[in-house]
Symmetry: C2
Subunit: 134 residues, 2 copies
């Protein structure tokens, strides 16, 4: 199948674009990450969010360790072609690695960042299966 649509994206010099995931049911913005061409193509093929991890320098199939997969309902591109918007069904109701629904859990109130979201599941619990058995 033609991949002309991938070439319409304005990849930055480092080959990446910004990607936003928004929850389809609650409307909440869950997280912001990065995609390269392969990540976007895989996201489209799998209907599950695949990002590029800048820290680990590899493809990151969201939920591969935590189980918190994002089922993709739609993929949008912005006017400048350098931001991708995903509407997703967030499996487990947790997008953030801290165990919260959204990564945007800090609200500015009277000049201070206040945590407004509860930790739904501790990171230790989320990532317990990530360790190799002894």
């Amino acid at each position: 199948m033609s991949e002309a649509w991938l070439s319409k994206v304005n990849w930055a010099e480092d080959g990446l674009v910004t990607a936003i995931a928004q929850d389809a049911s609650t409307g909440r913005v869950l997280m912001v990450a990065w995609m390269n061409r392969e990540a976007l193509k895989l996201t489209w093929q799998k209907n599950e969010a695949v990002y590029w991890s800048r820290s680990r320098k590899k493809l990151w199939h969201k939920g591969e360790e935590s189980g918190h997969v994002q089922k993709v309902k739609s993929i949008r591109l912005d006017c400048d072609g350098d931001v991708i918007h995903l509407l997703v069904e967030q499996q487990g109701g947790i997008a953030c690695h801290t165990g919260r629904e959204s990564c945007f859990y800090r609200l500015l109130e009277k000049g201070k960042w206040v945590e407004t979201d509860a930790v739904l599941k501790s990171p230790e619990e989320i990532y317990k299966n990530k360790l190799e058995p002894l």
Copy 2:
């Protein structure tokens, strides 16, 4: 007043962070832009979105030319501290410079980007007051 909250933001080497504006009434993600420290401080002080224009290399009080000001309802910070989320009341119902409600007006359908949003006001009409009188 203390600006300690500004120092909790993880500014990138270029002094910027990503900023997302979401419509408080419709829940739609409207646009993504950039902020430096001054832009975020002004956004907080004015309760109106102020970004840093990377192309024009200057502060950009959103709506300064178009009238499409974004009244800020809340300011949030993500877990990594490098993305700002604004919940806004979008004046004029138009965030995009193309005259559409949202910059994310292209939807991926069967391997093609399809425009789903109508132009509510032509850019010529929006920016007609931007030109200096002859």
